[in-house]
Symmetry: C2
Subunit: 294 residues, 2 copies
């Protein structure tokens, strides 16, 4: 990742009124708009979302908002890495047309009292580990979509459960937006890019790739007919052996609805999802079980 000089070309707006003005002018010209919601401290994964947005719309707007309501009090809201100037430069370089970076007061003015929640798909995995997380995500995404009214909104598959939550939300509230999931961008050893990788020490970084490795191995084993329970147990063991701390989950679930798979061979589209601590970082990743005959 390069620390580029800020590009003078990228406009930054900070209010709902301003972002509506800018996007309204584009819309009036018949230009389609893609929204890439982010919490900033951008990496190549985010930039790939911007590039995907540019393939489906003439204008790409990225939002940068570290949303306090999706962090629990015990979590890393205050410590979450922030560098807006660097983010703006990276976005400009990736072809983004506008950065929308509202403050907390703009998004949650005094008296704010509304929340959007999704049941079902929010219950297991991240929802179990972080019970208030998806309520915060659903509410802020509903707001961003209402503020920007984009034709498409782009989210990374790295946050796979979040992607399913947002698809459910958009379908259920009849929001007129195409939700696109983008493939996870990884380092050479398979580690999914994440702003939270900044928390890893060099020693932790050296073993972090084992998370993806364990997911791939479990996916291959299950795809070859191994029982889900055995593959999951071996995944957990591999992470512990590699040096990970607490393993929140390592589970094979239905790809569309995160339903629990039986302990035996999988039946239907499946995805393996995992979350584990490594030092100060809590890493998450996921991998599809490809059941194509071989």
């Amino acid at each position: 990742m390069t620390h580029a000089t800020p590009q003078p070309g990228l406009a930054i707006v900070r209010t709902v009124a301003e972002v509506r003005d800018r996007l309204g002018a584009w819309r009036a010209q018949g230009l389609r708009i893609a929204l890439v919601p982010t919490m900033g401290f951008l990496h190549e994964g985010h930039l790939s979302l911007v590039r995907l947005g540019a393939t489906v719309a003439e204008k790409v707007v990225a939002s940068l908002f570290v949303n306090p309501t999706q962090f629990a009090p015990s979590e890393d809201f205050a410590a979450y890495p922030r560098d807006e100037a660097r983010d703006a430069a990276l976005l400009a370089g990736a072809g983004c047309h506008l950065l929308y970076a509202p403050g907390v007061e703009e998004m949650y003015p005094p008296g704010f009292a509304t929340s959007v929640s999704v049941s079902g798909v929010t219950t297991p995995l991240e929802g179990a580990a972080r019970p208030t997380h998806f309520g915060g995500v659903a509410t802020i995404v509903a707001k961003l979509l209402a503020q920007c009214r984009p034709d498409a909104a782009i989210f990374g598959e790295k946050d796979y459960q979040q992607l399913l939550v947002i698809r459910r939300l958009v379908r259920d509230l009849d929001l007129e937006v195409h939700v696109l999931g983008a493939p996870t961008v990884r380092d050479a050893d398979g580690l999914a890019l994440s702003s939270r990788n900044a928390y890893l020490t060099a020693a932790e970084r050296a073993i972090a790739g084992h998370l993806n490795l364990a997911l791939r191995r479990a996916a291959e084993a299950i795809a070859s007919g191994e029982a889900v329970a055995a593959a999951e147990a071996r995944g957990v063991e591999a992470l512990a052996r590699a040096g990970f701390g607490e393993i929140d989950y390592f589970e094979c679930r239905g790809a569309d609805d995160l339903r629990r798979m039986g302990p035996g061979p999988v039946n239907g589209d499946a995805r393996i999802l995992a979350a584990a601590r490594l030092g100060r970082a809590r890493l998450i990743d996921n991998w599809p079980v490809e059941r194509t005959p071989r």
Copy 2:
């Protein structure tokens, strides 16, 4: 209320796709759209909302959906009066341009899992008497607004707390719609028109006007400087004496936020709200405390 013959002029659509097509065509012509959400069994109160809509928009669409999620299991969802042909005729006569009457499956397809909730203003009064009610209201209104994307949405002041909930929801989720409250339409004795008045027997109907009378008297007394607690107590007494059954509330509250008023003279804009049973019906009404010097 007249039982008119259905007007052939009023188009009825039943799906999200159809209503979007119709409204999209109007929008493309630069026509503004007002939405009047209803649960049907229309009366002059609803029709006044249609007429108000026509003063702010070129096209008025009414929705007719008896929303199951805003009724508790013990309430009157199944018994709620329905007469779509009559409703369509009344709407056509009032100048409505489109009736959107989706079925339950269209609004809540299998797998539906999202809810919108508003805290604070939903807690007292109707929220206390009907704990699940406003969650259902907020969710269905968010859906209707996303489906129709009207320029204005019209709601009656008869459901005063609902109007505040919807204003809060629209502000908090940044929905681009003007919410207009319309004055309550009343019979000669002051009874607010309501579809649920259909539940009243002739004997009950003869005393139903006392609800509005008690509200007006309490509002006048408070406006003249009487202590809130004394005026409320007299209101409750008056309803009991008139023959009402259970009185859920008779309370003077802040007009904007429904905050509890102190027991003494009011300080700030206030409104008195009441709900009471009369036979099978549960009637609600409200009245402003006019503090203009006289």
